[in-house]
Symmetry: C2
């Protein structure tokens, strides 16, 4: 089956020079991303530096988004933490805010834990939230977590909790893995983490992408989705891939924030929290080129 492809943006979290969260720029930029044509936002993901933020900060900023007028049913906030009690608190809050779902990392500190322990962890979150509105998007990013979401785990979770697990983001970058998930679980909305994989993702029955570089290039990624199967596809895909490659050659998150700063002509957007380091000005030309490709021609 072919779905209408969707783009969710893992929106960056701007920080002030004192490293507190810049609420005003966070809301302003999030609205710009939706105006770019994104179907929704996946705030508090890896690109959002959410793992450098406390539970209280994440709760406050999700409420800020919703209070700003962004529809909660366009939001899939990240809510999976190392600590079980943190994951329960964030997920419960996201459900109470009316979010479309929660994008949930596995508990990521302890490595080599048994599959049963991961099932127990998601079950404890579901039980702790205790709200029938809960919908979970699994988040597979083994290069950060060291705790993979395997096909076997997905199967166990969907069997134990029917109707709760509705999607998955595969950030492994391994198309064979994504393809296996789409084939094994056609009812899941399976997102790639790179727009470069959108054509094969959608052709195989996947749901689209949730990509870091969509922070800069959402309009063209949506244009690519609209052009799939037409004669315009190849040209748009080439342009999207060119932007993506610029970011892949740089420290990704600092580069995405530097590009956001360049786009808005507002250096404040380039601030990162440790353990990241602000992108060196040596890369100004590359960033300018990415922004120009993304926005220069109004594509």
């Amino acid at each position: 089956m072919t779905r209408t492809p969707k783009l969710f943006v893992p929106a960056i979290t701007p920080f002030r020079p004192d490293l507190t969260i810049d609420r005003e720029r966070f809301i302003a930029n999030s609205k710009v991303l939706l105006a770019d044509g994104a179907d929704g936002l996946a705030p508090f993901g890896t690109t959002s530096e959410a793992n450098s933020m406390s539970v209280a900060e994440r709760i406050e900023m999700l409420e800020a988004l919703v209070e700003s007028g962004i529809a909660a049913d366009r939001l899939i906030p990240g809510t999976g933490c190392a600590a079980l009690t943190d994951s329960i608190a964030l997920t419960r809050h996201a459900v109470q805010q009316g979010c479309l779902g929660a994008l949930m990392l596995p508990p990521f500190y302890y490595k080599g834990v048994p599959e049963q322990g991961l099932v127990d962890s998601y079950s404890a979150i579901i039980d702790g939230v205790a709200d029938s509105r809960l919908r979970i998007y699994l988040y597979h990013i083994p290069q950060m977590t060291g705790v993979p979401i395997t096909l076997s785990l997905i199967e166990a979770l969907m069997k134990k909790h029917p109707g709760i697990f509705v999607g998955l983001k595969d950030s492994s970058g391994n198309w064979d893995n994504t393809h296996s998930i789409i084939k094994a679980f056609p009812e899941l909305e399976t997102y790639s983490a790179s727009e470069a994989l959108v054509p094969q993702n959608v052709a195989a029955g996947g749901a689209g992408c949730i990509s870091a570089s969509a922070n800069v290039n959402a309009r063209n990624i949506k244009a690519l989705m609209a052009a799939l199967g037409t004669e315009r596809e190849a040209g748009i895909a080439a342009g999207v891939t060119e932007v993506r490659k610029i970011f892949e050659g740089l420290p990704l998150i600092p580069a995405i924030k530097a590009a956001t700063a360049a786009r808005h002509k507002d250096e404040a957007y380039a601030v990162v929290r440790p353990p990241f380091v602000r992108l060196s000005r040596d890369h100004d030309a590359a960033i300018a080129r990415a922004v120009s490709l993304a926005h220069g021609t109004g594509a």
Copy 2:
């Protein structure tokens, strides 16, 4: 130089059947570990399942320990989290409680971050705590964090913040790495994570050990430290290693909790939080043997 070796126990955190923290058993068992002869406790470490606990839970339980009459200057709580603001909150609280120091993981979600970003992270914590009493013990456990504490990082931190970094726990299990740290930074208290390495650690000028199995075998590990260089050393070392090997053949944290349950004849101590799974009863005989070796002869 040879130091008087010390043993800090990364005390387990008991949970109730509903997975909330069992405050009474936590305090009772922590006191038992000190009565066993441990020089102090390193609560909220890896073995303590602290990374499965929220900041609020960790703060509440550290206060419970101190209120119970355990001297804060015998405590080196773990305070390093993925999130910068969590690390600041926990570290500030530990200092305010009068703790001997804070055992601090690097920010452990994001991988491949530059050394400067890790320096910035520790600096932001030091600046955020803003208390001259702060003393930091670095915590190197790359098999969990994926973020190593390299010699180069240690050097940069000690140079930038003289007097703050006073110790290090090397949980890599790589003696060559530990030895390199002891030689490069003789003023640091460098702890091994295994009692099996105590003889070479102390001979090289290290500070002793902070070991998971000390939750069960603290008395014999202290006896080993007292017997170093005497004719009794080899025999005690062999016994200590035998206990250690039993745990190394099992899921470590569930096994340590099962052994604590066996020691106290109180099954409640065996409860773990997901993503761990309670130790199978198939291992009862191995656990009984470890406890018998540790306590059976009143060594």
